[in-house]
C-alpha cells in the first residue's frame, strides 16, 4: 500500500513554473530518494507535502485520502536550511515542538528524555541551543523530525554537517525506524546515501519529473549489458569474428597478474553464451555485471534532458 501519493501536482510563482505535473507513489516502509539538481523544484514539492505552500493543481493523498492539516501530526520534517531558537534550552525547545506536533505534555517529556538518552545527550537538556556546536544542533534537529512518532518522514540532506560516526548513527536510526513501519523521503545530492539507503527514487529536473520507480528497476533500465571478466587469456579475444559481444577494454593488470576484459553484450545475447564462448580462450577468475551507479544515471539524465 502507498502511504503517500502525489497526483499531477503543479505549482508556479507568477509566470515561473516550478513543478510541472509531478506524480509519484511512495509505498509504506520505503526509503524514497527525491533527486534533482539545485532549483529543480524538490523543496517546493516538499513544502507542498508539508502544506507550507499550496499547489496550483493536483492533489496529495496520504493513506488513501486527501492530505488534511491534521495529518501533519503524522509527518516529520527535517528541512535542508534548518534552524533553532538559539536562546531556548534544548529540553524546552524539543518539548515546545513536540507539543506543536500534537503530543501531550506528559508524552512529550517522556519521548524527549528517551531520545536524548538514546543519542547520549541527556546532559544537554538544560543547555542553551547557542552553546551547542553545529553538529550537536543537527542531532537535535534530527530528533525534532522523528520524536512525535511520525509515519512519514521527509529528510532534506540529513547527513550534511555530520561527522562519519554521527552520520552512521543517523543512518542506523533511519533503518531502525523503517523496520518499525516508518516511511522516509530522502532528498539528497549524496549519491552514496541513495545507493545505500533508498529502494525507490524519483528524479526531478527543471520542474519536470524525469524518472520514478524502484531503484533496482531503474538501474536495470539503465543497464548497458556490460560485464567485467577477469582471468588469464590463453588465445587472443577480439570483437571480430564473434556475434556475441563487443570488447570495450582488454588490458593486463600487473598488480593482480590477470587480464581485465570489458565486454558489451549484443542484443538478445545471454551471459551464459558468452561464458561458453570465452571459456575456450580464457581461464575465468571472476565475472561481474557493470551496473550503472545512481550518480551515473543522475548525470546522464540531467545532462540529456
Amino acid at each position: 500500500m502507498n502511504i503517500l501519493e502525489i497526483r499531477a501536482v503543479s505549482k508556479s510563482y507568477e509566470k515561473n513554473l516550478v513543478l510541472d505535473n509531478v506524480s509519484l507513489s511512495i509505498p509504506t516502509q520505503a526509503i524514497y530518494g527525491l533527486l534533482g539538481p539545485n532549483g529543480a523544484g524538490k523543496t517546493t514539492l516538499i513544502r507542498i507535502i508539508n502544506k507550507i505552500i499550496m499547489q496550483d493543481q493536483g492533489e496529495v493523498i496520504f493513506k488513501g485520502r486527501r492530505l488534511e492539516r491534521n495529518d501533519l501530526f503524522k509527518l516529520g520534517y527535517l528541512p535542508e536550511e534548518r534552524g533553532l531558537y538559539s536562546k531556548m534550552k534544548v529540553g524546552e525547545h524539543l518539548l515546545y515542538l513536540a507539543k506543536l506536533k500534537g503530543m501531550k505534555t506528559y508524552d512529550a517529556h517522556k519521548v524527549v528524555k528517551s531520545y536524548l538518552q538514546e543519542f547520549e545527550i541527556s546532559d544537554w537538556f538544560n543547555k542553551k541551543i547557542e552553546q551547542l556546536s553545529k553538529g550537536m544542533q543537527q542531532k537535535i534537529q534530527f530528533i525534532i523530525a522523528i520524536m512525535h512518532n511520525p509515519d512519514f518522514v521527509i529528510l532534506d540532506e540529513p547527513f550534511s554537517g555530520f561527522d562519519p560516526v554521527n552520520a552512521e548513527l543517523i543512518k542506523n536510526k533511519i533503518l531502525d525506524l523503517r523496520k518499525n513501519g516508518v516511511t522516509f523521503m530522502l532528498s539528497t545530492h549524496r549519491m552514496e546515501s541513495v545507493e545505500e539507503l533508498c529502494n525507490y527514487v524519483t528524479l526531478i529536473n527543471k520542474s519536470k519529473q524525469v524518472i520514478d520507480g524502484e531503484k533496482r528497476k531503474i538501474k536495470e533500465q539503465f543497464s548497458t549489458s556490460t560485464y567485467e571478466i577477469r582471468g588469464k587469456i590463453i588465445s587472443p579475444i577480439t570483437s571480430d569474428g564473434n556475434s556475441l559481444f563487443e570488447v570495450l577494454e582488454n588490458e593486463w593488470c600487473e598488480e593482480e597478474q590477470n587480464h581485465k576484459l570489458k565486454c558489451k553484450l549484443n542484443a538478445g545475447i545471454n551471459i551464459n553464451d558468452v561464458i561458453n564462448y570465452l571459456i575456450k580462450s580464457m581461464e575465468i577468475h571472476s565475472l561481474r555485471e557493470i551496473v550503472p551507479s545512481m550518480n551515473d544515471i543522475f548525470i546522464s539524465l540531467v545532462n540529456n534532458k
Partner: protein
C-alpha cells in the same frame, strides 16, 4: 487555539523570564515615583536645608517682624558686627547676612544680602517679599490708614470652574487632565513602538535562522504570526498591569501623607486643585481606553511590522519599509501638544478617528473629555482597521517568510497578497 496557544506561551515566556523585563517592570515605576517625589520636594523646599539669615537692622524696624518659617530662620544681631559674619560665610553653608541700612520708609534703598556659596535665588525672593510687606505696613501706618480696612480692600477671588457635559456638571480639572492626557498619549506611543519592534525583531530572527520552516510544517503562517503578536501583546499588558499595581501599592503606602497634604492645603492652593482634579477623573475609563487603544494600535502597527520583517532579508531593507510605516505615529506624537491645547479642534477630532494616529490622540483626548459617540466611532474604526491590516499582513507574511535572497519592493508585497 491549541497550537496558537503554545506559540503565544513561548513568545510570552521567553520575554517575561528575561532579567531586562523585570528590571524595567520595577525600575520604571520607581523612576516615575522618584521624579514625582523629587519635584514635590523641589517645590516645597528646593534647598532641603533650612536657610539661616543673620539680620543687621540699622532701622530697628524689622526685629521680630521678619518671621522665621520652615525654610528660613531669621536671627537678629547688633548692627556693626556684620563684617566678621561676612568673613565667616566663606566657610559656611546655608548662611546669609542681611544688612538693612537706615532709610526712610519711602526710600528703602541700600539693602544688601551676602550669601554663603550655593545660595539659592528663592531665598532672595522670599527675603525681598518679607521686607516689602513690613515696609508696606509701615507706610499704611504712616498714612494713618486702618490696617483692617486696607486688608478688606484685598478681594479674595475664588473662581470655581466647572465644565458642562451630557453627564452633568463636573469640577474642572483641565490642568491635571492635560498632564494625564499627555502622559497617556506618550506612553501609548512608546508602548506601540517598543512592542511593535519586539514583533519585528522576533520574526526577523525566525526568518534569519530558518526555524520558521520547521514551525510552518505544523502551524499555518497566520497562526504563527498571530501567536507572536498576541504573545508580545500579553508581555506589554503584563508590564502595564505590573506598573499600575506597583504605583497603586506605593501610593497606598504613602496615601496618609497625601491625605494630610490635601487637608493642610488651603482651598485655593495648586496642590488642592491637583488633588481634587485627580479625584474627579474617571481612571477606570482612562485605563480601559488606554488598554483598548494600546491593543488596537499595537495590532495595527505590529501586523504591518510583521509583514515587513517576514519579507525582507536584512536590517537596511527593513528600515526602508518601517520608516514610512511609522510616520503616522510620529505625526500623532508631534500633534499631541496642539491636541492638548485644543482637544476639540478639527485636528484633534480627525487625528483621533484615523486609526494610525488614534492610539495616541484618542487616549490623550479621553483624559480631557471626549463625546461618547466619537470614542465609539474611533474604537470601531480601529478594530476594523487592525482586522484588515492583520489579514493583509498574514497574506504577505505567509509568502515573504519563505522567500530569501529576494529584493523586496512595494509592488512585490502587493503581488504576494494575491498569491494562492
Amino acid at each position: 487555539m491549541g497550537k496558537t496557544g503554545y506559540i503565544i506561551g513561548r513568545e510570552y515566556m521567553i520575554r517575561v523570564r528575561k532579567r531586562t523585563f523585570w528590571l524595567l517592570t520595577f525600575l520604571i515605576p520607581l523612576v516615575y515615583l522618584a521624579m514625582i517625589g523629587f519635584s514635590v520636594l523641589m517645590t516645597k523646599n528646593p534647598g532641603a536645608e533650612i536657610q539661616s539669615v543673620n539680620v543687621y537692622d540699622y532701622n530697628g524696624l524689622f526685629k521680630d517682624r521678619l518671621q522665621s518659617n520652615d525654610e528660613i530662620t531669621y536671627l537678629f544681631f547688633e548692627p556693626g558686627t556684620e563684617q566678621s559674619q561676612i568673613e565667616l560665610l566663606k566657610v559656611a553653608e546655608n548662611q546669609h547676612v542681611l544688612i538693612i541700612p537706615k532709610f526712610g520708609i519711602n526710600n528703602p534703598n541700600g539693602i544688601k544680602m551676602f550669601s554663603s556659596k550655593m545660595a539659592l535665588s528663592f531665598i532672595a525672593d522670599k527675603v525681598k517679599s518679607d521686607i516689602r510687606l513690613i515696609i508696606k505696613d509701615e507706610r499704611i501706618k504712616a498714612l494713618g490708614l486702618n490696617q483692617d480696612i486696607i486688608a478688606s480692600l484685598e478681594p479674595q477671588i475664588n473662581l470655581e470652574v466647572s465644565k458642562i457635559s451630557e453627564a452633568g456638571e463636573e469640577a474642572d480639572n483641565s490642568l491635571v487632565a492635560s498632564i494625564i492626557a499627555g502622559i497617556a498619549g506618550f506612553l501609548n506611543y512608546i508602548f506601540v513602538f517598543v512592542y511593535g519592534s519586539l514583533v519585528l525583531r522576533g520574526i526577523h530572527e525566525e526568518k534569519q535562522n530558518r526555524i520558521v520552516e520547521i514551525i510552518l510544517s505544523t502551524v499555518k503562517p497566520f497562526e504563527l504570526m498571530l501567536g507572536k503578536i498576541i504573545g508580545v501583546a500579553l508581555v506589554g499588558l503584563t508590564q502595564f498591569i505590573m506598573w499600575v499595581l506597583i504605583i497603586l501599592l506605593i501610593s497606598a503606602l504613602g496615601l496618609s501623607d497625601l491625605d494630610m497634604l490635601s487637608k493642610s492645603a488651603t482651598p485655593s492652593s495648586d496642590l488642592s486643585a491637583v488633588l481634587s482634579g485627580l479625584s474627579s477623573m474617571d481612571f477606570t475609563l482612562i485605563i480601559f481606553v488606554f488598554i483598548f487603544f494600546f491593543i488596537g494600535g499595537y495590532f495595527l502597527y505590529s501586523s504591518m511590522f510583521a509583514a515587513v520583517a517576514a519579507s525582507v532579508d536584512n536590517q537596511t531593507d527593513m528600515q526602508q519599509f518601517i520608516v514610512p510605516l511609522s510616520i503616522p505615529l510620529i505625526v500623532a506624537i508631534i500633534s499631541l501638544q496642539a491636541v492638548l491645547q485644543a482637544p476639540n479642534s478639527n485636528l484633534a477630532v480627525w487625528l483621533s478617528m484615523i486609526p494610525f494616529t488614534s492610539p495616541v490622540i484618542m487616549v490623550a483626548r479621553v483624559s480631557i473629555g471626549v463625546p461618547v459617540f466619537q470614542l465609539v466611532i474611533s474604537m470601531l474604526i480601529l478594530v476594523l482597521s487592525f482586522i484588515f491590516t492583520t489579514w493583509m499582513a498574514g497574506k504577505i507574511y505567509r509568502v515573504g517568510i519563505l522567500m530569501t535572497g529576494v529584493k523586496v519592493t512595494y509592488k512585490q508585497l502587493w503581488k504576494w497578497m494575491f498569491y494562492k
